[in-house]
């Protein structure tokens, strides 16, 4: 049976843990608000860009060079998978679900005879894949800190990806990231980045075409498309980074809220145990005294 002092120390240590987790929760909550604002501020740009692209996409039948970002390389043997995780832990299943999903994706692609390479974003996915499939990592990006560095960080990733793509190093690129649904729920999502997936924007395009007259293009459609496509890749990455950042804060907030509550419960049950034990000691001592007095 633990002594009173043991229980007391335990209560104290759980108490200080609770203080830490509740502080972390509050920090995450305020960061969440900021990240969310950032993510929302970036939305108009990416949605406008998508609109422009979808109205242009039809004009590009096939081609060489930059147009390949839209039309693909014509093969689908080599994949690059980009898991986007956080740099820090203590945010529930946020990172592990990304890693698990990516791992599954890689295995299933390999099962179909494809070659898969990884480009890890965030310390947690880099560390994980360094352990399980080290030879497949071609590049990793850590300490991005997207909420303070902004667009630059996305540009780095996108430049690297495009460089590899135009060198013919891969045919398809898939992002795996946590989509920010609400402050307490994130959804692991896969998005095909290269070649651009226009299938879901095609419907909008039809709608637009029917209601709108045709645009004049200056200088011409192809030149615009050539400018637009690389930019779109960077913007998509930027959007994903921001969403993931907001998701991370949300996940951390939820995890820390849980931890705080659990710590509270634990303190309650420990206090109960402490009081019981204290009472048991008193009773025991009383019995000893009484039985001692009786025996005289």
């Amino acid at each position: 049976m633990p002594s009173l002092k043991d229980i007391k120390t335990q209560i104290n240590s759980v108490g200080s843990t609770k203080k830490i987790t509740s502080a972390m929760k509050m920090v995450a909550a305020s960061k969440l608000r900021r990240s969310q604002e950032k993510a929302e501020a970036a939305r108009p740009y990416s949605s406008r860009l998508e609109e422009m692209l979808s109205s242009l996409a039809s004009s590009a039948a096939s081609g060489e060079g930059i147009i390949k970002l839209l039309t693909g390389t014509g093969s689908d043997q080599n994949y690059v998978v980009v898991p986007v995780s956080a740099d820090r832990g203590l945010c529930g299943g946020f990172n592990s679900s990304i890693n698990r999903e990516t791992f599954k994706l890689v295995k299933s692609l390999e099962g179909n005879g494809k070659k898969v390479q990884l480009m890890a974003v965030g310390k947690k996915s880099r560390d994980f894949f360094n352990r399980v499939m080290k030879h497949q990592i071609i590049e990793s990006f850590v300490d991005l800190n997207v909420s303070s560095t902004g667009y630059e960080s996305a540009l780095n990733i996108s430049n690297k990806l495009q460089e590899l793509y135009f060198d013919g190093k891969f045919d398809k690129c898939i992002l795996v990231f946590n989509k920010f649904k609400s402050a307490i729920s994130q959804e692991v999502t896969q998005q095909q980045l290269i070649p651009l997936d226009v299938s879901n924007s095609e419907k909008e395009e039809e709608k637009e075409n029917s209601s709108n007259a045709i645009y004049d293009y200056e200088p011409d459609e192809e030149t615009i498309l050539k400018d637009l496509l690389p930019k779109n890749v960077s913007i998509q990455i930027f959007k994903v980074l921001l969403e993931s950042d907001a998701g991370e804060q949300g996940a951390r907030m939820a995890a820390m809220d849980n931890a705080t509550r659990n710590a509270g419960e634990m303190i309650d049950s420990l206090t109960l145990k402490y009081n019981r034990t204290r009472q048991a000691f008193i009773t025991k001592e009383l019995i000893e005294i009484i039985s001692g007095a009786e025996s005289i």
């Binding site: 501020a41 645009y215 293009y217 200088p219 930019k231």
Partner: protein
């Protein structure tokens, strides 16, 4: 007089959003003056000044953009720019220093940066379009 709604969007935020009278954007093939009821045009932009005027032709704001796209239709003009700064907040000395540094460097990237920086300097120095 009618107005046209104008959005200036950068990747990080929505910089400007209001009803205005006239906008001048630096199109790749030459500057475009946009009035309400403009025909539908989609244009890519070169680095330069985006000027915004009120209905009675007074300059409201001028921005420097480092390139991007403009989508124009009769009711709305949207400019997607990669980086946006107000021309007033640009500092001549720091840009001149930047240009000097970039001139010593080689490579495609610094060349691009150089042309942007030169356009920045020009944006401060010129004053045409201040009154239309």
């Amino acid at each position: 007089m009618a107005t046209i709604s104008f959005d200036l969007v950068s990747p990080e935020n929505l910089v400007f959003n209001d009803e205005v009278g006239t906008i001048i954007v630096p199109g790749k093939d030459g500057d475009l003056g946009i009035l309400p009821g403009h025909s539908k045009v989609m244009s890519s932009l070169r680095p330069g000044r985006v000027m915004v005027y009120s209905e009675d032709k007074n300059l409201i704001k001028s921005f420097f953009v480092s390139g991007g796209f403009a989508e124009i239709n009769p009711e709305k003009c949207i400019v997607l720019a990669e980086s946006v700064v107000e021309v007033n907040s640009l500092e001549k000395t720091s840009i001149e220093k930047e240009i000097q540094e970039l001139e010593n460097k080689e490579g495609k990237e610094s060349e691009e940066q150089l042309s942007v920086a030169k356009a920045k300097l020009e944006a401060i120095n010129v004053n045409y379009y201040d009154k239309i």
